[in-house]
């Protein structure tokens, strides 16, 4: 009994120094992540005069003139609406197309499975926003140019590898026996899926849908190339960067950041599972 009591102080003090170092670096790293966001919010919550004033105090003026200016600026409301529309379409398309593929990959063994997996994995070796260049031509021919659907199709290419891989892992996590039990009790495949599998995977599917939404919400290049009248918020901002006053830029930046923060918070539980799988 005496030995451990002798040992205890030494390990505690060594661990204490290590602890301190770890927590010091954690505080530093958290500051590195959070302070820039805070500074953007300070600017967004200050009046235009405060935004271009110098020197700055680092405290917000709690003046909503910048945000009001942004909200009332010609084209902003429409851009916001387009952003949401495109993101919702992307979400629906990528889950609607990706989830069946994920289910098939997790439940069946069939010739050609590896070829399909390669096709999905290959998308990650290509700079996908560049797709917008040739698709711009194709869309003009088919009447999809400058539409929310056209842009959503490109964003779906970005989101679909994630949708397939995430749903694949979700379905793989549900034992086949559960479905088989439902079959023996008289369900057909679709009923068994609907009543047994779907309720279990729904939260995960929702998370990957949010992830698809975020991908589309944030995408700049393809959006700027493919839309002219119906710009999304990032496309609108980048197109007007060199002509917009500072307070408009910062209010616009804040309008992009805040929803993104909420999305990431919503899917935080699934982030690591998603990327753990996306590795393979």
């Amino acid at each position: 009994m005496s030995n451990p009591t002798v040992d205890v102080p030494r390990t505690v003090s060594a661990g204490g120094a290590g602890r301190f170092l770890i927590w010091a670096s954690i505080v530093l790293l958290c500051a590195w992540v959070l302070v820039p966001i805070y500074l953007l919010m300070v600017n967004a919550l200050s009046s235009p005069a405060q935004v271009s004033g110098f020197p700055k105090s680092g405290l917000p003026g709690f003046d909503f003139a910048s945000l009001q200016f942004f909200a009332g600026f010609a084209g902003v409301a429409k851009a916001l609406w387009n952003s949401i529309l495109v993101a919702v379409l992307t979400m629906a398309l990528s889950i609607g197309i990706g989830a069946p593929a994920g289910y098939a990959l997790s439940r069946f063994d069939f010739p050609g499975k590896e070829v399909f997996r390669m096709l999905v994995v290959m998308t990650r070796a290509f700079p996908l926003p560049l797709l917008a260049l040739p698709l711009a031509v194709m869309f003009i021919r088919t009447g999809l140019d400058d539409t929310a659907l056209g842009l959503a199709l490109v964003h779906t290419v970005l989101a679909i590898p994630f949708a397939v891989l995430i749903t694949f892992s979700l379905f793989s996590g549900i034992p086949l026996e559960l479905e088989e039990a439902a079959w023996t009790l008289g369900c057909n495949r679709w009923q068994a899926f609907q009543r047994v599998v779907l309720p279990l995977v729904l939260p995960g599917i929702a998370a990957s849908a949010v992830f698809a939404f975020t991908i589309s919400w944030n995408e700049v290049f393809a959006a700027a190339v493919l839309t002219i009248e119906n710009r999304t918020l990032p496309a609108f901002l980048i197109q007007n960067l060199n002509v917009s006053p500072l307070h408009l830029k910062f209010a616009g930046g804040a309008a992009m950041v805040i929803p993104a923060l909420i999305f990431i918070f919503a899917v935080r539980k699934y982030l690591f599972a998603m990327w753990g799988i996306a590795n393979r």
Partner: protein, 281 residues
Amino acid sequence: MPARFLPYLMLLPATIFLLVFFVYPFIQIAILAVTQDGGFSLQPITTMATHWKFNAALGWTVLLAAVVVPLQLVMALSMATIVTKLKTGRSTILYIFSIPLGLSDLAAGIVWLAIFEQSGFLNSMLAGLGVIEQPILFLGYQNIWVIFLAVVLAELWRATAIVMVILVSGMGLIPKEYYEAGEVFGANGWQRFWRITLPLLRPSLQSALILRTLAAFEVFAVVTALGGTTLPVLMGETFNWQFAMQDRNVASAYALVILGISIAATLFFLRALRVPKGATI
């Protein structure tokens, strides 16, 4: 309907979708890049290669990736190591660390613009400390290296999270027994990191590096937000040719260059960090 067609039926939408919107457009890019007025021509490529901005754009893009990606790897490895050591508050810290994951490159550019612009927070801080009297124009065209530095910081800030998340999930797959065995044989923390964590993390390192390097080659909105067109990059030039110059053939030639260096980087990382057959965890 026979059950063996079911999986193909379920894969059909995704396959058709990827063929139409992924494979076909990339073939189109290659065709557009060697077409002029409807016929085969190397003119777009010559126009691109002899344009005065091309070498600069290619150089800055590659330099940016060469600076940002290794730094991100080191930062992400430290973050991931710290997080895996934590017992309390782990999920909160992980959430904070992964916040930038959800931000777009444009938003990141605007965030760092708030710091670097002339009436921004860096100048305010320097003035507050009495270092400077007048605010400095950091992001002017005569300070191209300051713009480069600001872009590097913004990229480090925004995109390190994704590397960290990949590495944390990779570290979670390494069985604890290896570390216990290492400890039994007297390996200290540093040795365990070099001899156990890093080698077993190779698949995650590989995907993180491929993903990040490719994204670094696609850098665009951050640069535009911070430096306008002062710092030329490949993606920005592609955008310029598509819009300002209205020449989608030259834009496609640029796209082909980005595609080329992306594939080269992917092949490089696939080879350099090859996982020996049968050596997966």
